[in-house]
Amino acid sequence: MTEPRTRAEETAPATAATGTVAETVTQAAAQAAAQAATQATSEQVAAANPLSLPNPLRDPRDRRLPRVAEPCVLVLFGVTGDLAKRKLLPAIYDLGNRGLLPPGFSLVGFARRDWAHEDFAQVTYEAVKEHARTPFREEVWKQISEGIHFCPGTFDDDGAFDVLAMMLKEIDETRGTGGNYAFYLSVPPKYFPVVIEQLKRTNLAQGPSGSWRRVVVEKPFGHDLNSARELNALTNAVFPEESVFRIDHYLGKETVQNILALRFANTLYEPIWNRRYVDHIQITMAEDIGIGGRAGYYDGIGAARDVIQNHLLQLLALVAMEDPTFFDADSLRREKEKVLSAVQLPADLAAGTARGQYTRGWQGGEPVVGYLEEDGIPADSITETYAAVRLEVANRRWAGVPFYLRTGKRLSGRMTEVAVVFQRAPHLPFSKTDTEILGQNALVIRVQPDEGITVRFGSKVPGTAMEVRDVLMDFAYGESFMESSPEAYERLLLDVLIGDPPLFPHQREVELSWMIMDPIEEFWASQGRPEGYPAGTWGPASADEMLARDGRAWRRL
């Protein structure tokens, strides 16, 4: 997120250098003097109190040095899961490869497998080889593999957790990890209570002073307001709120963080970022896949709880919030909470929401089955696989501007984006025929798969006639910055180990989101079966009608 800011600043030194070099030399001398002065004072402080002194090798001006966590242990529950293999283990390697893991960093896997440390190391090795983003380097692997441990057992086995506690104590001694543990619960929510209870029983939840204990939980954070509160009460009874890290991996994506840079580091967008210029906002997460092997989890949950409650409402909050005072967790969360509590549901839920369920069809050239025919789905399921809602944000900036949120499975393509669609020009001096094919200006933040920003505006078609047509201006993230930007999980794991919470939703945000979703879910539950839509299309007709009633249409993606 700091990259664009750097770009803005760097024009200054460039002009200074082309100007008078002598002047900058004097500045350098002055700076050196100032530095000498600060250093002198810090030495005095150090002399006065040698134990509380800050790390002498760190300097906020030294921006080459990356943030590195203290030596610590990451305990991973659910290492045999898909997420661990595809994302978490490779992310740990990638962090190591970028020099961001602390010396002594250790990884403990916990699962119901009869594995030795070496077997888990082998599993990790294969996951890294297959899925890591950065090239494989022997020395990085050596550093990581030295710290790999495995603890076999089930979650209800007291003995296994006693072994885990002993193992961690031993790791503190052999690896110098100082009692700092992060527990990553990559397990279905039904196991949370027992795992958390075990951590409490074995005293692993509370570290000695000077060390930290953190717990990382994945979505879903409950399935409605009450269950979210129960889950939280359970976690908070053992871990204080500041030690709980809720992962919404969308927030770890570069583009999502870039929304804040785009909005708050520039002057270009802020003046038009309000109801006077914005016509409406569309937030979409479309998937081309079906439910795959997630039938057990997905049925009864549905698209709205699975995606809108967390990812899309978080995107809405980032797009609609006011500017935070500082770029820290408290200020950011405060603004997000403010805007989430200003979200208003449509007065008529039947007209302001739409839901669907995919039926047999062709998806990208392949025949696919309908939702009700998927393995493990009851034939009378009323779970929606497509959901769209029309929300408003009741504040001065956004009053009257609809926010259309939609998500679905088995749609035509895979695409997540936020589109800010602007009003038409109040007056066009051109004749009607000249601007017939001119649409509305739009600013689109593409979250995945091709991260970037697109601006759509009208331009004259070359030729003698004055004909205006929409054109696109494109900023591809990968093109201007990294070849491959860090995976969301890399960033989030690093933040957990450092203890930096801005990118993790607070419990209050989770609850506010459920307050928005609960009435919609209740209404849907009373409405019988969702409307069918053939797989490989852009969702049910009712969703199109929902926008048509407002005189608008979904963007074709």
């Binding site: 750097t6 030194p13 030294d62 010396p103 550093q143």
Partner: protein, 305 residues
Amino acid sequence: MTTFNLTETTASKISSTLTRLRHQMGAPAVGMVLTLVAVVDEAGQYDAVRAATEAAREHPSRILVIINRSPNEHNRLDAEIRVGESAPGEVVLLRLYGELTEHAHSVITPLLLPDTPVVAWWPCQGPDVPAKDPVGRLAGRRITDAQAARDTVAAISGRADVYVPGDTDMAWTRLTPWRSLLAAAFDQPIGKVERGVVEGAAGNPSAPLLAAWLSDRLAAPIEVADSSGPGLTGVRLAVAGGGELVVTRTDARLATLSRPGHPDRRVALARRPTSELLAEELRRLDPDEVYASAIQRLAQLSKSR
């Protein structure tokens, strides 16, 4: 990749060829964030272009490579333009003959991307005063490499005398993983460092620079000792009340960190290729004040010696 050769040409012809190629290729140059000017000799050209092209994957750039040829020939400018899939930006190799070798900036100035930063890089022997060099004057960031100088240690020790904000040296960039590891080791309080030693291959300019940085930050005398290399091989810091914090690396890849009261730990600490060093340099283009105070300390130390 498309290569385009122009002989006995001018900057404006090169510029229009670039524009034409860009249109033909369907705008591959979109999103370029800076202009990188590399000043090299013919022998160093291949490696410099390769490193710059690789770094351009992270920082899409227009890369201008100045190769000074014989000053005794008649004035002439030859250009080789490379645009293509291997990197997102553009590469222009400029070969200068005759008196033109003294006026490279006149070729460069019209070819700089408008309103974006300019970085000058001397992978070979650089100018004595980078900020006063005709090419260096155009740049907001000037990257030298003491390692390439005839007297490497003298080169890095002399940088402070001519320092202007925006100067930096690859000898410093090479230290980042070492500094990062040492800083991480100091994250847990260890007490006052009384003295220390940095060990490295003889003539490695990074060794005295690391010693100067450590002595600047820790306010303790830090010696430099020669070892058989490769590169830096170790840092030993004696802590008040006995005990030593030691980082050793003998194979240029894997280091061992030991500190009193803690088990030894191995940490990956590989030497990095030039492309990665350059990419790190291009990541932040504001003046590196920590580098400035390290070279000032180094200059003080070498003068008092």
